[in-house]
Amino acid sequence: MSEDIAYHEYDVLVIGAGGAGLRAAIEAAEGGLKTAVLGKSLLGKAHTVMAEGGVAAALGNVDPQDGWETHFYDTMRSGHFVSDYRMAEIHAKESPDRVLELEYWGAVFDRTPEGKIMQRPFGAHTFRRLAHVGDRTGKELIRTLEQKLMTLDVDVFQEITATKLFKDQDRVAGCIAYYRDDGRFAVFTAKAVVIATGGWGKAYKVTSNSWESTGDGAALAFRAGAELADMEMVQFHPTGMTWPPGARGILVTEGVRGEGGLLFNSEGERFMEKYDPARKELSSRDVVARGIYKEVKAGRGTPHGGAWLDITHKGAAFIKRKLPGMYEQLLSLADVDITKSHFEVAPTIHYTMGGLRVEAQTGATSVPGLFAAGECAAGLHGANRLGGNSLSDILVFGRRAGAGAMEYAKNAKMPKIDGAEVQAEMQRVLAPLARTEGENPYRLHEELQEIMANHVGIERNGPSLEAGLQKMQELRERTEHMQAKGSRQFNPGWHGVFDVQNMTLLSEAILRGAIARKESRGAQWRTDFPDEMEDQGRVNYVQRLTDHGIEVRPEPVPQMPEELAALFKRGVAPGLANSARKE
């Protein structure tokens, strides 16, 4: 094939330009390495930009009793003890520094009366912990990283999609990508590669996620031999919009409940009092989402199948100051003035806790030279993520994966990519454009979403999961024969082909994980195994792609050392126990 291919060489190649990818690139570039970062969108528009409520860090600015122990405690408990405790510990200890670093780089957080960074309450956080900027924290975070990155010598490749990772013997060697604007190919050879491509919420129809969230990097790394873990753990956020139809699934930030919003069913009952009398609306997301789901199923749902969320009692001035984005979003999209009226919400797919299995300190995957951080990686969030813990995750582990990749690259020679593999991949990528007939990627995406909604949604059971797996395997077969009409120029239909293939692979892994885990825990709710199994449940289901397909095996979760385990024995959060002792 005579193609005009661009060839590049880097010490560190970061695939993904969300918070995790930018933070990783900053670390590697500040260490003096030749670094590049790739993203499917324009710079600063990655999924991270949408984050609203805040970034969790035990700064103790509002509640001085807060500290890393309590943040660690909250994270492990919400993750139902299948998180990697080492990640949870590093995360709790390092988040405050990462937030302050953003301030030093120019982020302007909301302030306390004393002039410190303001922190708001959020579900299942013992203390007021989320540093925020109104309800647009993700934008502040990504903009600050973007602005910092611009001061460094990093090559940024915008609107480019990686389709395959290459290896040189056992280690990773780089990737091939196509430019979205004109379909040209670029081949990147790199000593170390960081995957920071985010989650795969787009496998579901009702989701808060952007089109980018198709799990590309996790799928590419899986195909290259890296392991996945906890794939069954997919988070429903309790409060997505229900209406109008085009807005279904768009997020209503947890900040609404954090700032005092209350949930009611159609009979005016504050139903969370039933499901979690202590924490009510501010219970963990799995519990609140299930609460709404159960109310709807019992016939106490709102007109569009959800619950009422009401924050009117806080007054218009307060709401407009604390939640300006939500006020505007509901007003312009759904004609609802949330300062005057309650509004409908229902669970929406929001976050993928599972992903690439990584080493806690460095983000190293099981493939030498290949690192991962952010939503595409597993480990920190276990069976249920705490709100605000993702923005801190991407900062803490983005930095660590950047450092891990840098250390690896410093001691490595430039690998070689096999030219024949490049040719073969280009042919594969161009094939859908050459087909005169074939499956329609938009249709297959819809079918995929339908299978996921029907078989591995909020409520699961064995027979339905098995049936879903069967359908998914049939669908995967069909995804090999998609056709894209039009040219290589900015062609969303063509781009969709690869999105669908990646999501199909990961969706199968979700189904397989859900089948393997014969219990209910966090986001995994199985009506045929309704209880959490104290002992045999404390495992992570790890998946590997072999020549015979996907293999699943349980791995016991790492055991906490004595001093950390002791934190859970007092029956109360460490910060509360300490303050009780002092009194």
Binding site: V49, R111, G115, R143, K148, S210, A247, F490, N491
Partner: protein
Amino acid sequence: MPDEITLSVYRGDKSGGQEVEFKVPMQTGMVVLDALHFIQAHDAPDLAVRWNCKAAHCGSCSAEINGSPKLLCKTRVDDYVGEVIHVRPMHSFPVIKDLVTDVSWNYEKLRQVPAFQPAIKAPFTLQQRDVDRIQEFRNCIECFLCQNICHVLRDHDAKDRYWGPRLMIRIAELEMHPLDTGDRLELLKGAAGVGMCNITKCCTVVCPQGIDITDNGIIPLKERVADVYWDPLGGLVRKLHK
């Protein structure tokens, strides 16, 4: 409400193009981006349009709807009952394909703005009232609709003499940060060309974030430049007090 709406969407690339009509079933509360997605899924799978958040947070989906610069995800179809909805790419940037334009010039200029230079290490002590204004500016979603409408860039294509309102806001947020020690006034007066703005306020009108670009950003910047360059003594005093 009608059952069906008509969109006339620009299809083309740098070699030229024209509007093409599509019929789309009407749904309650539909935004123009929903209609374009329907067209992609049913009629024109290769229709190029940028989007990410579908909630006016990311600034990807800028276009011109019946001649006005708008976000596709925030513009309701029922605002145009009885009309054909014409959707075209932003006028001031080169078309790549259909509704997608080449906005790289904005990123080049953003890279040229000297970054934040804090006087001290974090944590900072900053009062909310002292950061309200810069938070207003940092609410920018980089949709570049203001760059698109500003007549200096749109009608006079003076990109070599004026960096446009988005860049003025970026510079303003740095200049007005209480802890910043950088000095971008020479840049403002020179290459960035704040003097080219003649305060027509068109940028402020189209800003989907409601940022008061002209009154709160550009005019104070013009005053700072004037202070320093026309009143050396005043400029000196200002510098000492910064």
